[in-house]
Amino acid sequence: MELDIKLNKRIAKVKLIKRDQDNVTVQVDNKEYTLDIRMVEEHVYSVLHNGKSNNVEIIPGENLKKYYVNTLYKNYDLEIIDAESRYMQNRNIKDIAGELNIISTPMPGKIVRIPVKVGQKVTADDTLIVVSAMKMESEYKAGRDAVIKKILVKEGETVKGHQHLLLLE
């Protein structure tokens, strides 16, 4: 079994070499690791490697292939890139790139204001939407010059984390 895994900007080649119960040998890029790994709690693994004890928390992300990974000192965003993702990517590369056209919330909240309209031209750094949560308002700004294609939410509406708010053209 071999997969690509993206951690921040790095893409690592990961390969399962051997597995004997909880003892696993895995190659990451050119380095081979033999570890003793167990899931000890839901989403939490205890990993022993060369005597070092690591606790690794694997939190599922927005979809099956995304993870947030927490270690004692670091947090990572991580994504599995398997054959399917690669196929999708080759077949319909525009959709993947197109994600940049979607403005979505990093956090749940309530829509306070939408100072733009469909069809309106906006320039980079224009405020597109204002979301309030926990007594604090956050503004979402345009990352580039664009035209508003679609508005998916209304003022006063409550939104979830990662919910799509606006489409740009």
């Binding site: 951690l7 790095r10 990993v47 939190i59 000192y73 991580l78 926990m134």
Partner: protein, 503 residues
């Protein structure tokens, strides 16, 4: 004797109060908004009643509804916690009218201290040092100019009804005065419906040091020493400690006496806090009084060994306070970190949402006051504070060591938190030296945002491998929900067991 208390609050403070009630054998009544049905304070209380929709203006601030619940449930007293109705003189008055004890000072004390101009005047009369400035409301630009010339620049224009940084303007040059005055008045009108403003000298590089006071119905008032609260971000306290690294025994004694005089001037009953600004030369000035329990009260509880909530309840019950001034001694050093649901890497944006996992630190010298649990969804409507982590050490450096250890044990996932940011403060040199003022976070922001975590290439790789194996496991489970003999690993067994547990 008070037998049942309604806690007109939510979150950690509601539970904090209920804990002391339970220890005193007093029944507790929770109130909750729509968003809070599954909140811990509802689960912890003996009784719980719905009071309205999620926005606090429609629930936790509804005096009538809360008083109705008090009547219906037969509560003798209402504890307002902090925030919400805790400094609302009208609510305190209404409680009195309805024959329910308000656990807090008299409506008059709340009102006097709530209006900053009146409070300043009261302090001046009581002989408590105040920041140089106006004694009364500034009506015209001409008046403002006279004051400005009298006390010298820079100055602050402040709303009398204000608090928490609203309706405040800093004036550095004479030219700014006119605009700043208008802006402060307009903001005050909008925010508080009262455009009264006043002018104070701006204290540069101040320390924010507050004194805990405790009074009863018989005129006994003592102080329980200070809390150093200068580690702030945008007027929000982040870390508090006691004793203050800059206070001398003489100054503590002097400020303590001023704090007691301040409280006496309004015949203060219950627990309250006198906030002072202390300048670089250790001159201190009355800033304001908080006529309620303070978020950071646990550090005082730890070093002086007094349960402040129990004292509040006893005083409200008509008992004299249990301590004399000479009984109060600070032992060791306590420190509190506020754990917020916010993302320091993303401009401290609030981060409500589902708590997927939480492990709280414990062991020697560690206290947590929190309210979230695994599976709880932190609502978007209220304060982002998840919990308070309080540690004690025999010395300040011992307390810092312990705080580092406790922060390293604190695991919350699903929402972003300020834990990493707090860890960086704990390793900051100026903080460790105890040399800091209210500009600390601002000044040190660059260093505080850096990544100080020790991590070689292995630790990245181990994260990658763990996710890799988790993913393999996940897809193999999806392909064959019936166990295959091939998968005999421990975590597979765990997975199976979890499923068994579920069904």
């Amino acid at each position: 004797m008070i037998k049942k208390i309604l806690i007109a609050n939510r979150g950690e403070i509601a539970i904090r109060i209920m804990r002391s009630c339970r220890e005193m054998g007093i029944s507790t009544v929770a109130v909750y908004s729509e968003a809070d049905r599954t909140s811990m304070h509802v689960r912890y209380a003996d009784e719980a009643y719905y009071i309205g929709p999620s926005p606090s203006s429609e629930s936790y601030l509804k005096m009538d509804t809360i008083l109705e619940v008090a009547k219906k449930s037969g509560a003798d007293a209402i504890h307002p916690g902090y925030g919400f109705l805790s400094e609302n003189a009208e609510f305190a008055k209404q409680c009195g009218k309805h024959g329910v004890i308000f656990i807090g000072p008299s409506p008059n004390a709340i009102a006097t201290m709530g209006d900053k101009i009146t409070a300043r005047q009261t302090m001046i009369n009581a002989g408590v040092p105040v920041v140089p400035g106006t004694k009364k409301k500034i009506a015209t630009l001409a008046e403002a100019k006279i004051i400005m010339e009298e006390i010298g620049l820079p100055i602050m224009v402040k709303a009398s009804a204000g608090g928490g940084g609203k309706g405040m303007r800093l004036v550095h040059t004479a030219e700014e005065l006119s605009n700043s005055l208008k802006a402060a008045q307009s903001e005050a009108r909008t925010a508080f419906g009262d455009d009264s403003v006043y002018i104070e000298k701006y204290i540069e590089s101040p320390h924010h040091i507050e004194f805990q006071v405790l009074g009863d119905k018989y005129g006994n008032i003592i102080h329980l020493c200070e809390r150093e609260c200068s580690i702030q971000r945008r007027h929000q306290k982040v870390i508090e400690e006691t004793p203050s690294p800059i206070l001398t025994p003489q100054l503590r004694d002097e400020m303590g006496k001023s704090a007691v005089a301040a409280a006496k001037s309004v015949n203060y009953e219950g627990v309250g806090t006198i906030e002072f600004l202390v300048d670089a030369n250790l001159n201190y000035f009355f800033l304001e009084m908080n006529t309620r329990l303070q978020v950071e009260h646990p550090i005082t509880e730890r070093v002086v060994g007094v349960d402040l909530v129990k004292e509040q309840i006893r005083v409200a019950n008509g008992d004299p306070i249990s301590y004399k001034q000479e009984d109060i001694r600070q032992l060791g050093h306590a420190m509190e970190c506020r754990i917020y649901a916010e993302d320091p890497d993303n401009n401290f944006m609030p981060s409500p949402g589902l708590v997927r996992h939480i492990t709280e630190p414990t062991g020697l010298g560690v206290r947590t006051d929190g309210y979230v649990y695994k599976g709880y969804e932190i609502p978007i409507y209220y304060d982002p504070m998840i919990s308070k982590l309080i540690v004690w050490g025999r010395t300040r450096s011992g307390a810092i060591d312990r705080m580092k250890r406790a922060l390293s044990e604190y695991k919350i996932s699903g929402v972003r938190t300020s834990i990493r940011f707090l860890q960086n403060i704990m390793t900051n040199k100026a903080f460790n030296d105890g040399i800091y003022d209210t500009h600390f976070i601002e000044n040190e922001m660059k260093q505080l945002m850096e990544d100080h975590a020790p991590c070689d290439s292995n630790c990245e790789d181990i994260a990658i491998i763990t996710a890799f194996l988790d993913y393999l496991e996940k897809i193999s489970t999806m392909e064959s929900p019936i166990e295959s003999s091939e998968m005999q690993s421990g975590w597979k067994q765990y997975g199976r067991r979890s499923n068994l547990m579920r069904l």
